[in-house]
C-alpha cells in the first residue's frame, strides 16, 4: 500500500498563514493601537501618582504610596472635589430635564419656528468655549455677580445642554 504523498494535501506555508492572519486581524490590531493612544496619558498619570518625586513630577524617582496616603492633605483639594461633584450633578440633572423637553418638541412635533429653534440649539455648540466663557463672564460683571459656584454651574450647563439636546433630538427623530 502506497502512502499518499503529503504534497496532495494543500498545506499553507507558515509565512502565508501569518500574513493571512495579519490581514484578517488588521483592523483589530489597528484598534488595539488606537486604544493604546487613548490610554497612554491616563496610564502615565496613574503611574506617576506613585512617584516619590517631591516637588517636580517629571522624572521617575521611585515607588511610594505617600501621594495616596492623605488625599485631603493638600489645601482645597477636597473642597474642589466636592464642588466638581456638585456642579457636575446639577448640570447633568438640569440639562437632562431642559434638553429632553426641547428635544421632544423638536423631534416629535412639526410647528412654526422649528428650524429656527434648531438653529438656536446649534449656535451654542458652534461657539468656541472661550467665547462662551468670556461673554458669560462679562454679563455677570455687568450685573455685578461675582464669579463663583452658580455662575460656573450655569456656564457648564450651557455647554452640556446644547449637546444633550442634539443627541436626544436625534433619538426622538428615529
Amino acid at each position: 500500500m502506497t502512502k499518499v504523498k503529503d504534497a496532495t494535501i494543500p498545506t499553507i506555508p507558515a509565512q502565508a498563514r501569518l500574513s493571512r492572519w495579519f490581514g484578517r486581524n488588521l483592523i483589530r490590531i489597528y484598534a488595539f493601537f488606537g486604544f493604546t493612544y487613548l490610554f497612554i496619558p491616563v496610564a502615565y498619570t496613574f503611574a506617576f501618582s506613585f512617584n516619590d518625586s517631591g516637588k517636580s513630577n517629571l522624572i521617575w524617582k521611585g515607588f511610594t504610596l505617600d501621594n495616596w496616603q492623605n488625599p485631603c492633605g493638600a489645601p482645597e483639594i477636597c473642597t474642589a472635589l466636592g464642588n466638581s461633584i456638585k456642579i457636575g450633578l446639577l448640570a447633568t440633572i438640569f440639562s437632562t430635564i431642559l434638553g429632553t423637553m426641547i428635544a421632544f418638541a423638536i423631534g416629535r412635533y412639526a410647528f412654526k419656528g422649528r428650524s429656527t429653534s434648531n438653529l438656536l440649539i446649534f449656535l451654542p455648540m458652534a461657539t468656541p468655549e472661550i467665547v462662551l466663557g468670556a461673554s458669560l463672564l462679562s454679563l455677570f460683571l455687568v450685573f455685578q455677580i461675582n464669579p463663583g459656584f452658580w455662575p460656573h454651574s450655569v456656564s457648564i450647563l450651557l455647554r452640556i445642554d446644547s449637546h444633550s439636546v442634539k443627541i436626544l433630538a436625534t433619538l426622538f427623530c428615529w
Partner: protein, 286 residues
C-alpha cells in the same frame, strides 16, 4: 377644541424653559459681547475702560493683526480632524463589527479617558513628549529625530494633543452610524461579486456618512476654538486664535479686540460648517 389648542401649544410649552435659559445665558451675553466689540478706550480712562463708539474698524484691525493665528487655528483644526477621522474610523469599525461580546466594554473604554480631567491628560502629554519622557530618548538613539529636535512646544504636539482630546467625539458618532448599518447590505454586496474594498467604498462608507459628518463637526468646532492644547503643548509661534482671545480678554483687558475676534471666529466656523453640511448633504446635525 381645547385639546386642539393645547396640541398646538404643547411644543412651545416644552421649548419655553430651555429657551428662557438659552436667552438669559447665551443670547444676552452674546449681544453684550457684540456691543463690546465696537467700543474704543475712554480718552483719559484707566486700562480696561471702554465707551461705545460703534467703531466697526475694530473687526478689521483685530483680523489683520491676528491673521496668522487665525489661519493657524483652521489649519490645526483641519489637521486634527482628519487625523482623528483616520484613527477613529477603523476603531469605530472594529467596535461595531469585529468586537463580538466585548462591544460594550470597548465602548466604555472609548469614554473612559474622560474620567481623568482633560487638563491633566494634556499635561501628561507634555511630559510624555518632553525631554525626559519615554518617547524622545529612544527616538534619538534610533536617530529618527535629531539631537536638537524637541517634540514639546511644537505645532506637531499641539495637533497631536487636539487629535487626542477630540478622538472620542469622533469615534462615538462614527460608531453610532456604523452600528445602524444592516449587515445584510454588505452581504448583498458580496453576493454581487464585490470584493472587500469595493463593498467598503460603495456600501459601508456611504451608509456611514451621517456619522462622518457629525464626528468631523464635533471635532472641528471645538478644535478651531481650542486654546488649552496650544497653551500647554505649543510655543509662541503655534498660538491659535483661542489663545489670542484668552490673553486679550483676561490679561491685557482689551475687551473690544477679544470680542471682535470672537465674532470673527464664530462667523468663520458657522460659514465653514454650513458649506460643509451643504456639500455633505445631511440634515442630521443642523
Amino acid at each position: 377644541m381645547s385639546s386642539i389648542l393645547s396640541k398646538v401649544k404643547l411644543p412651545y410649552l416644552l421649548l419655553l424653559p430651555g429657551f428662557l435659559f438659552l436667552f438669559t445665558f447665551f443670547i444676552l451675553p452674546i449681544v453684550n459681547l457684540a456691543q463690546t466689540s465696537t467700543q474704543t478706550p475712554i480718552a483719559d480712562g484707566d486700562t480696561g475702560q471702554y465707551e461705545q463708539t460703534f467703531r466697526f474698524a475694530n473687526y478689521i484691525d483685530a483680523f489683520v493683526e491676528n491673521r496668522e493665528q487665525f489661519a493657524r487655528s483652521f489649519i490645526f483644526a483641519i489637521c486634527a480632524t482628519l487625523l482623528a477621522l483616520a484613527i477613529a474610523y477603523p476603531l469605530a469599525y472594529a467596535i461595531a463589527f469585529k468586537s463580538g461580546r466585548f462591544k460594550n466594554i470597548l465602548l466604555v473604554l472609548i469614554i473612559a479617558p474622560f474620567f481623568t480631567s482633560f487638563l491633566l491628560r494634556t499635561v501628561a502629554w507634555k511630559q510624555i513628549l518632553g525631554e525626559e519622557g519615554f518617547v524622545v530618548p529612544p527616538l534619538r538613539t534610533l536617530g529618527i529625530i535629531g539631537e536638537s529636535t524637541t517634540l514639546t512646544s511644537t505645532s506637531f504636539a499641539v495637533v497631536l494633543g487636539m487629535t487626542y482630546n477630540f478622538l472620542p467625539f469622533m469615534t462615538l458618532p462614527l460608531y453610532a452610524s456604523l452600528e445602524r448599518i444592516d449587515p445584510r447590505t454588505m452581504e448583498a454586496s458580496g453576493d454581487l461579486y464585490a470584493n472587500g474594498i469595493t463593498t467598503f467604498r460603495r456600501v459601508t462608507l456611504p451608509l456611514s456618512m451621517p456619522g462622518v459628518v457629525a464626528g468631523t463637526l464635533l471635532t472641528f468646532i471645538p478644535a478651531a476654538g481650542d486654546y488649552v492644547n496650544a497653551a500647554i503643548l505649543g510655543n509662541p509661534n503655534s498660538k491659535m486664535l483661542g489663545n489670542v482671545i484668552e490673553s486679550r480678554y483676561f490679561r491685557i483687558v482689551d475687551y473690544p479686540t477679544a470680542a471682535a475676534l470672537s465674532f470673527t471666529l464664530m462667523a468663520a466656523i458657522l460659514i465653514l460648517v454650513t458649506l460643509y453640511i451643504r456639500k455633505a448633504g445631511t440634515e442630521e446635525l443642523v
